[in-house]
Amino acid sequence: MSKLEKILQSAFFRTIISILIGFAVGAIFLLIVNISPAEAYAKLFSSIFSNPKSLSYCVVYATPLIILGLSVAFSFRTGVFNIGAEGQFVVGSMAACVVGILVPAPPIVLPILCIAAAAAAGALWGIIVGFLKVKWGINEVLSMIMFNWIAFYLSNYIADLPIIKNEGNAEATKNVQEAAMILLPKSWIDSLGLCNSASWGILIAAILAVVVYIIIEKTSLGYSLKAVGFNRDAAEYGGINANRSVLIALAISGAMGGIAGATNLLGIGQRIAIFTAQESYGFQGIIAALIGASNPLGVFVGGLFYGAIKYGGSRLNIIGAPSEVVNVIMGTVIFLIAISHIFNFRLRKKKKGGDK
């Protein structure tokens, strides 16, 4: 197989094609609402790339998506479908928020405490679902949907407690202490012209991507989790405790969901509002995982891409274009990725290659 052919048949190339077609479909819908696609996409991309500040915003927007994407990707690789990332994100945010408001601790220590609390809360949320599955055989997709909503109202309940609640009239918590924030040093932000919310979050995301990669590909723990994911019976035959593996996989996945919430809160959020609707971070994480084909590096890049499109897409309002076009584009992209194996870019007719 020639190099060119290899590229043409790679999953990556297919993803690129999917993205291009996604934009084409988006363009059709823009035409329907009587907006010039060229103008809209110009706005979209100029909003992303116009200056270091907008770029840094894209990164800030991408950070929780990457981490959630890793959480979902990890679950995919270990044979569960973490549709509960939304709930883990919410409880993680809230745990970090409570610690960030109430615990008196110095800088550096406090963010670590917040993130640890978030990881613990997210992991707990994952373990509850795992426990229901292991103990009573309750379908995890069902309980995750339920626990997403329970997390939603739990967060609202906590945010409304007098000790946490904003003193002003905003329906939100107090801001977390300055010391809890993980923002980049002010001097860096000013000299590089970044946005004020630029934080260490992306570094945390990168570290987690590496951690996930190592766990999945390099460790005996990852081996046992994957074995259970691929073939529970054989794994048990081989002496792997499948129930324990399911719990561990959901705990790790949940912990990452929680950390995603914490980095978002300690970077850009500062506080948690009383929700009126689900924020859909969980589903956006699923998208990031799918674009990245559940591969940690792929998820990192996929998350960055999605974060940028999300940020740039929201700016479409400025020229009167509906920002929902982004959903059309991303939906189309995911749909095409799902069927991308039928695009067969071959230079000449040949027997089916080993490309998955």
């Binding site: 949907i145 909503w149 109202y153 059309v328 991303m330």
Partner: protein, 315 residues
């Protein structure tokens, strides 16, 4: 006692109100799942149904035409899902997730194109799904209040139970139902008996989109009378949960939907009483109760054996 009768009436009213859209969607989900295709795109299909129903009814003034078009719109997206997963063997979860992003996006963008707003124009009473017994029962005594509340629900709610009976009949008493269930359990056996597995599954997925679309239309053409982006927020997933709860049987899904509706009604009744409980905690009731009931009474459900697995014809 009077209070009890009143509350009971309200509970039944609320249960029916919440159940109708969920149950349409849940029956849709049943079709798809038992034939072996996981359809988490129900939520998106409900959203386009909700939008299309409200829009067609607004322009034609005919609620039933709107209702049917809502189903067809849901079916159009189901067809996409079907082509991807059945014809091309795409991952069913991925395709469903894509539908959940694509469908609401298309609905809202189209709304903006037509109405220059993400909301549709409210329907006037004649283009809404009617209530069948409006004005039959007068209020006054507790029992007449009770009757009035119980029977003040929409035609679409009565229809959902008719549809349920039909669906149950199709599932368990017809040739198609037997074949469709067989396709979800052992597609290869079906193929060996000359049953066209792909076509059967495709029909089921299309039906699932149709019913999900009807469920969405229930929200926008009955309970409220316009489409808004918040019209469908999670009902599709609750419907899927109800199906798993009901062990992939339409009658079981009905129990799941009724339970969920009852709890939602209970929330309002308790919240209106003098009990001083945080409204946030009350709002959790439907979700917590569902999990508890699962633990206590339902437990493990038998997932159709071939559910989620693409069937590749041997050639």
């Amino acid at each position: 006692m009077d209070n009890f009768i009143n509350n009971l009436g309200i509970l039944i009213y609320a249960t029916l109100l919440y159940t109708a859209p969920l149950l349409y969607a849940a029956m849709g989900s049943c079709f798809s799942e038992v034939s072996g295709v996981v359809n988490i795109g129900i939520e998106g299909m409900m959203t386009v149904g909700a939008f299309t129903g409200a829009t067609v009814a607004y322009f034609t003034g005919n609620p039933w035409l709107g209702f049917v078009c809502a189903g067809l719109a849901g079916m159009a997206f189901a067809l996409l899902h079907g082509i991807a997963t059945i014809q091309f063997g795409a991952d069913q979860t991925i395709s469903g997730t894509a539908i959940n992003f694509l469908a609401p996006g298309v609905a809202i963008v189209t709304a903006k194109a037509i109405f220059n707003s993400s909301d549709t124009v409210p329907l006037d009473p004649s283009s809404k799904i009617p209530t069948l017994f409006a004005g039959v029962f007068s209020s006054g005594t507790p029992w007449s209040n009770f009757m009035k509340n119980v029977f003040s629900t929409y035609a679409s709610t009565y229809l959902v139970f008719v549809v349920l009976v039909v669906v149950w009949f199709v599932f368990y008493k017809t040739r198609f139902g037997l074949r469709m269930r067989a396709c979800g359990e052992h597609p290869l056996a079906c193929q060996s008996l000359g049953i066209n597995v792909h076509r059967t599954r495709m029909i089921c997925v299309c039906l699932s989109g149709f019913l999900a679309g009807l469920g969405g239309a229930c929200m926008t053409m009955a309970t409220s009378n316009q489409f808004r982006p918040t019209s469908i927020v999670g009902q599709g997933f609750i419907a899927i949960a109800a199906v798993i709860f009901g062990k992939f049987r339409p009658q079981g899904a009905m129990i799941g939907c009724l339970l969920f509706g009852l709890c939602s009604g209970l929330r309002v009744v308790i919240g209106s009483s003098s009990l001083n409980i945080s409204v946030q905690l009350l709002s959790m009731i439907p979700y917590v109760v569902t999990v508890i009931v699962l633990i206590l009474f339902v437990g493990k459900s038998h997932v159709p054996a071939a559910n989620g697995k693409p069937f590749v014809k041997t050639k």
